[in-house]
Point group: C2
Amino acid sequence: MDEKYSVIGKSVPKMDGRVKVTGQAKYTGDLKFPNMLVGKILTSPHAHARILSIDTSEAEKLPGVKAVITHEDVPSLKYGISPARWDENIFCIDKVRYVGDKVAAVAAIDEDTVYKALKLIKVEYEVLPAVFDPIEAMKEGAPQVHDEYPRNLNAEIHQNFGDVEKAFEEAYYVRTDRFVGNRTYQAPIEPHSAISIWEGGKLTVYTSTQSPHYFQYYIAREFGLKMGDVRVIKTFVGGGFGGKLEPTGLEFAGAVLSRITGRPVRMFYDRAEMFAHNRGRHRQFMEITTGVDKDGKILGVHANFVQDGGAYTSLGIATAYYAGAMLTLTYDFKNYKFDMHRVYTNLPACGAQRGHGAPQPRYAFECHLDHVAQHLGIDPLELRLRNARQPNTITPNEFGVNSCELTACIEKAREISGWNEKKGKLPRGRGIGIAVGSFVTGAGYPIYRTDLPHASAIIKVHEDGTAATLYTGATDIGQGSDTILCQMAAEAMGFTYENMKIVSADTETTPHDFGAYASRQTLMSGSAVKQAGEEVKKQVLEMASVMMELDVDDLDCREAVVFSKSNPEITRPFGEIAREFFVKKGPLVGRGVYAPPKLGGKFKGAPVGTSPAYSFAAQISEVEIDEETGEINVKEVWDVHDCGMVINPSLLHGQVHGALFMGMGESVWEEVVFNDKGKILNPNLAEYRMPTALDMPKIVSELVESFEPAGPWGVKEVGEGATIPTMGCYSNAIYDAAGVQVNTLPLSYEKVWRALKEKKEKEGKI
Amino acid sequence: MDEKYSVIGKSVPKMDGRVKVTGQAKYTGDLKFPNMLVGKILTSPHAHARILSIDTSEAEKLPGVKAVITHEDVPSLKYGISPARWDENIFCIDKVRYVGDKVAAVAAIDEDTVYKALKLIKVEYEVLPAVFDPIEAMKEGAPQVHDEYPRNLNAEIHQNFGDVEKAFEEAYYVRTDRFVGNRTYQAPIEPHSAISIWEGGKLTVYTSTQSPHYFQYYIAREFGLKMGDVRVIKTFVGGGFGGKLEPTGLEFAGAVLSRITGRPVRMFYDRAEMFAHNRGRHRQFMEITTGVDKDGKILGVHANFVQDGGAYTSLGIATAYYAGAMLTLTYDFKNYKFDMHRVYTNLPACGAQRGHGAPQPRYAFECHLDHVAQHLGIDPLELRLRNARQPNTITPNEFGVNSCELTACIEKAREISGWNEKKGKLPRGRGIGIAVGSFVTGAGYPIYRTDLPHASAIIKVHEDGTAATLYTGATDIGQGSDTILCQMAAEAMGFTYENMKIVSADTETTPHDFGAYASRQTLMSGSAVKQAGEEVKKQVLEMASVMMELDVDDLDCREAVVFSKSNPEITRPFGEIAREFFVKKGPLVGRGVYAPPKLGGKFKGAPVGTSPAYSFAAQISEVEIDEETGEINVKEVWDVHDCGMVINPSLLHGQVHGALFMGMGESVWEEVVFNDKGKILNPNLAEYRMPTALDMPKIVSELVESFEPAGPWGVKEVGEGATIPTMGCYSNAIYDAAGVQVNTLPLSYEKVWRALKEKKEKEGKI
């Protein structure tokens, strides 16, 4: 770490660590309000069916039931988190589109009564043919999920940069591979929960959210309220990973139930309902064609993808875009073609999950490149080095990359993993694989089109200077943004972390910020916080200049001590100066704001620009395969990350570990499985098999620091980036170990066993 | 109301009205934290005793007990709310000084266990002679409450302005009367309660407080913590009336119990413990001598008072000062002498109670003046008119009075009460009486000596301008300061009250304010809020000037609409401009601060200056006496108040009603009664007889508006002022009705009956 910083670059303890480990942290589901009712949503048992009638009369008669609502009681305005693709209703009006679609809701005095009442609602359905496969769904004559979208095409992207056909013609070797991803779910440990209190024409919602702002915006829009009349308060959040970015039926139905009953209404999804609500990873069908020269230099790439979007858009427009847009970040090539169809099916809607659209395409690309390398007889690591993106370059799809230490990441990964000693030299059944990745540091455009700045911050210093409070709309969902933003505030102010306080993620008491998604907060919220801190420091130094009778340019402040730069022994406590400021001028306040630079680019069918900065990573894993059973034993993983300047190493490595954990689960075990009626067969943590701590390999997380000019103190993203290379890196290691490549995720023991069996049969060994 | 204002001057609903009436408001005692312990304090059963030994071993053994502490476990630093008169310890070290003095404390898992454990603590006492009467306590040889204060003199004031002796020599009539006040207690409906959480070297206290700032300051001082490491959060407060201004044993012992156990500790006083903690009204012995000329013009006054302070200082230094200082406000005379002895006794400590020191002296003075008037044959109302203070005058003790409509108040009271038709003309047993009063609008100096500004405020506007949040340290204890400060913020910003939000009285999230005492917030906190609002408006108008292409001087903003002053049809919504400001410049924030003007004066033994402004009031009451029983039936009360500009008439009249209620209780019924061992005989709401709604007479509350130049929009105080004249006005009415004057408070039925009996005996009628 750079010793020129006194607060950032250090693993200070988390702001909320103590209250969390002592059980004092209150999550939305822990909150109690007098007279609070419990609400639940009645969902559809059919994947596709016309609603013929809904009879709520028996439910209404049940003692303890305070309200029963259907589509007739709520606004019919369609909503959604993708701009201009609003396709969801609070309750289904004409038909249901997946098992779990929202039909009605009940508020009652306790959970028992609510569940009884749900059973008393009589819904008459006419079951319709359903479609569960996106390839089938695109065919003529397939069941239509939404009448407005022929052939179930929710989104279509066709981008063409350079001349891919010409590149392929000129290539020494052109190869096409096909891969299929898996439908996975974030499964945060804290279920969705919302408490709505609608009174006096104003609505307060306590909820488990990644973005109080988007919740406020979309809830206000749905009910025709002014934003100022909707207050959204994030309590503690037990993980989001993309699934808590958009308001759910809990907030919409809860608001109406509260308005009707005049009482607070608590709503929640149980674990099975969480799976049905979903908004997890899209399953993608991926065909990748690459042309290379004799040395393995990539000349052109064509990515042709289909995404199973499920029944609604959710964040899928961005998912579809990111799937192709981020493929170009890691390697330097000129010609790129991207085709994408995001398709409606009668399954739960997919959305953003850590890495948002990018991990599966990256898995496909990295496996595909290992085949290319093998064909050319080039070491896969070497192939990546030959193509690795360099700093200050522009991608074929016109993303400006500033800092980029991908080459150094690959080299360091090679060194610490012992790649040279292992590749091709490991005993039978063991293998090593590499993959790289890159991710955005925030989105250049927010989710709904707006000219608003993306982040802002206010800092208020206590009247005697012994504490300072940061007000930020940035959203700590466990990743530690409260902590690093306080570190940044203290660094910018010349203050101490220990004396920072924070108020965050409450639309009423904190200034605007778009929240936690797209790995945006360290750079974007951090920029606003830095500016606010600097404004405080400027005022402190000006006051100190008067008090110390020194030129303001000769003064600086560090760790709450103002000092003369020319004679550092002349000092004055920050607190004394802050106090004098308060006495002379009133509250010592700093303000900051951040809007991303307008990013260039001439896209077809895509937003202009995408992010101010990109992280890079190389991952190497070593695996052992049990050839009898197909069991995959990951021995060790080496992750080397370029995420710019590091604010808190311990939190950073925590993010890498978490991302790897998630990527590993999706690589080997996780998959949401449906029966032939579209019903989830494993909507629980026993049968949806996430890795446990015991499943985790040894992880070596290392850094190649860089300085990202677009970020405060040179920071960029880490929270999602480490998820990106994992699937490809595992798949390549398995290929190296067993000589078989499974082209569908997850790379389950069974699939590996079957592939090994097939290989042996081919080789005549069985 | 003045139509030039759109938000102030209107009876908008209270900010917190809805949550209070629906039971959603959480008071400190309603809060629950995981693992929270219950703590209680063991108090002394003796009024005066030496502590020989304390044995906590049995209590410690009781299962469920987590900590038992005595003076050995806590800092021995003395504390107190009067500067430089710190005389109280967390726990008594050498001896106890009143029944209820703090000896030890226990924290345990539940209330049952705590109470059992308290009984298991063995304290060996050597009982000492005690003194309960302040006159006795001043005598040589009386028991000494504190060794450091010979003759138990806690405070002595001797002031001499002009030449009183000469005035008396020149007077046509000089008269002396003696009165004795009563010891009363505020008895707020919400008991004191505090939850302390000490972890990681920092302390958070949720508590029922009138001033988070003083709590923070004195708690930090006691434990040697930085203020920034102590967070004090006011929750909802169910009344204070002066008794919740200083931290109690609950906060001090609770903090230590939490530090030792590592768990949150909830402490509370039950109703009897509240009475024992007290800090209510001082009982005063009052001798007043006045010299007048033939026309009743007052030439000089000598006030010679003794206060029973109880065992500790509490706020008593200010009480002693106010008792004399405020006597000069209502009448214009030149020569004034004030002698005060505040005396320690072995009774619970007295402090500030609504009207702080002034009501009893005012009662004495107003009764005394009726005797003077009777002697001179002048109508008592006429006597007051002849002497009434005029605006822009200076009192003999050098208080500068700006606005003063006392004459108009008296005239209006005369008119609406029908004084002229009633005085001397009512049937036997009925009578009418008048008294006047005046009160400070905030103290020129805070309670501890400091150069800090007295109030500050921050306003943040929502990014789309549909809401604004006011951050203020001002403390709403039920009186409605949150409401009127939001009205003031909206008025200053040109915004709407309905869209104001507030964060108040939390030392971490709000800027500094001294809190709710001395009727200071409307003027002082209001000044800071007005300035913050004006800073917002200025920025809005500057931005509007650019957007509307109009000169900024031609623009104004009202009710969230910016308009051209020269052509009011040209308008633009506040929200649009606020949003543009956010886009262009970041968070729209206004800051304000208030420090009172340095007030002049050459006092002996008193602080310099006292308040920036003074309210005035005249009260007339009509009573009926049952001569057989002494029962006093108050038929109607007319209060006419000069409190400057009125921000919220409904809250204002609520304050008048509440103050009258309190004054009435103290006049006729309320008295804390002790046995001969210093034990309170009536520490409960059944036997400490406060008036109920059914006891209340018809109240006519009227205003004479004035414009106070020291206050924002011309405001001044009302919260305490209406308490001041009540006792005198009732006493005078009783005198008028029955021809007897009871010279000791309360003016109980029994005393009236005895006085009537004595009178009849004298007249030979019995």
